[in-house]
């Protein structure tokens, strides 16, 4: 697993699972661009993170945990650009420029993620 410098931490318990990656290269310092990929694999309960087509972290969740959450309920929509967080359920909205967004209903391999990144990175130049 390649890391782009920086410290990776993860935690998995019965009630929460999280990953932090503190470091450089997540956002291009010259033009503020980023390219991020996340996979959620129900077969091994793993959440993986990729930046610029390379894996920066992976966390294995509690095996029963995904069954108890609403992650597989297709009636609950995903949202991009809004975060509901904290014990007070604070709502935050994102301020950014979206150049592209894709969703697959399967887990892409590391090779496929790199292929997509190589095919798409030029789109950020415009």
């Amino acid at each position: 697993m390649e890391k782009l410098g920086g410290e990776f931490q993860s935690k998995s318990s019965n009630s929460e699972h999280w990953m932090d990656f503190d470091g450089e290269n997540l956002i291009n310092s010259e033009d503020g661009s980023f390219y991020l990929t996340m996979t959620l694999n129900l077969e091994d309960n793993a959440v993986s993170l990729y930046s610029l087509g390379s894996c920066i972290g992976k966390n294995i969740c509690n095996e029963n945990y995904l069954d108890s959450t609403l992650i597989c309920d297709s009636s609950i929509p995903f949202t991009v650009g809004v975060l509901v967080s904290g014990s007070t359920m604070n709502i935050q909205y994102s301020n950014f420029l979206l150049y592209g967004c894709r969703l697959y209903d399967r887990v892409l391999s590391a090779t496929e993620i790199k292929q997509n990144y190589d095919a798409s990175k030029n789109l950020l130049d415009s």
Partner: protein
């Protein structure tokens, strides 16, 4: 004797008067109980009738559905006629946009991919989008893929259109592809995708700016409905762009809604990407940050 007769007459008159009174009372109207019961019955009947007429599978809905099916069938017939005319005379112009399969030896491709089905249309198919002009018919009301070789005319419902210029290399199981460059307006985000509150974004009033969509940090977000996480063992989500300020760049949430407002509970899969920090969390409403 006379007195007795007068008294008897008076008694008889009184009895008659009482009888009249009672009869009048009886004839004046229905009882309150009967009235209430009648009203209740009428309300029940009205409710049943309205439900039959207006409910999801009521008369009006069924009539609409039947009308829609008829329109689809009519349009399909028109398209098949176009195909037959071409098959009889190859000089007849084809309608729609030519599609071609994505492959390593085809640098310029366009496919139509059905959402929630691992099926796509490419080579030998033409994409006829809603509003395409057909001579002698008018403009199409639905989206289609047609095949001039085998005569197919398939109506499209839940689909996405992907082209080589959009930087997508992997198309298998692609459910959503937002590429602002190829979008005419936000109505073309695709089925199941909504850009919420985008109308009031940015000082210029434009949020779709050629290469990107601008999220204003106040109330804009994308909503993706109907995503099936357990269809094929998981999902992959990709996002790329540029930050606008030093606050959080973006987040992906699975968010509950109540009456189209974000519910303050029950969020699960969250990820948060900031200046130098990326956090990803699966939780029951508690956040790491």
């Amino acid at each position: 004797m006379k007195c007795k007769k007068i008294q008897e007459r008076k008694k008889i008159n009184l009895k008659l008067q009482n009888k009249e009174k009672v009869q009048k009372l009886k004839e004046k109207g229905i009882t309150l109980i009967a009235l209430v019961v009648t009203i209740i019955i009428l309300l029940i009947l009205a409710g049943v009738t309205l439900n039959m007429a207006l409910s999801g599978d009521g008369l009006f809905s069924k009539a609409k559905l039947a009308a829609n099916k008829y329109n689809v069938a009519s349009e399909q017939e028109v398209l098949q006629q176009q195909i037959i005319e071409y098959q009889m005379d190859n000089s007849v112009a084809k309608i729609g946009e030519k599609l071609s399969n994505n492959s390593t030896d085809n640098p310029s491709w366009t496919i139509i991919k059905l959402r929630n089905e691992n099926k796509q249309y490419g080579t030998n198919y033409n994409y006829v989008k809603e509003g395409t002009e057909i001579e002698g018919y008018g403009t199409t009301k639905y989206n289609w893929v047609i095949n001039y070789e085998n005569g197919e005319a398939i109506q499209l419902d839940d689909y996405i259109k992907v082209s080589s210029g959009e930087g997508v290399s992997v198309t298998e199981n692609l459910e959503l592809n937002i590429n602002p460059k190829s979008m005419a307006n936000l109505d073309t985000l695709g089925s199941g995708v909504t850009f919420v509150n985008g109308q009031d974004s940015s000082s210029s009033g434009e949020f779709l700016k050629g290469s990107y969509i601008e999220f204003d940090g106040k109330d804009d977000y994308l909503r993706l409905d109907g995503v099936k996480v357990d269809n094929n063992g998981g999902i992959t989500f990709e996002i790329f762009g540029k930050k606008n300020d030093n606050k959080q760049v973006f987040s992906l949430n699975k968010t509950l809604f109540e009456e189209d407002k974000i519910a303050l509970r029950g969020t699960t899969f969250r990820s948060h990407f900031n200046q130098n920090c990326f956090s990803c969390c699966l939780g029951n409403g508690k956040a790491r940050w």
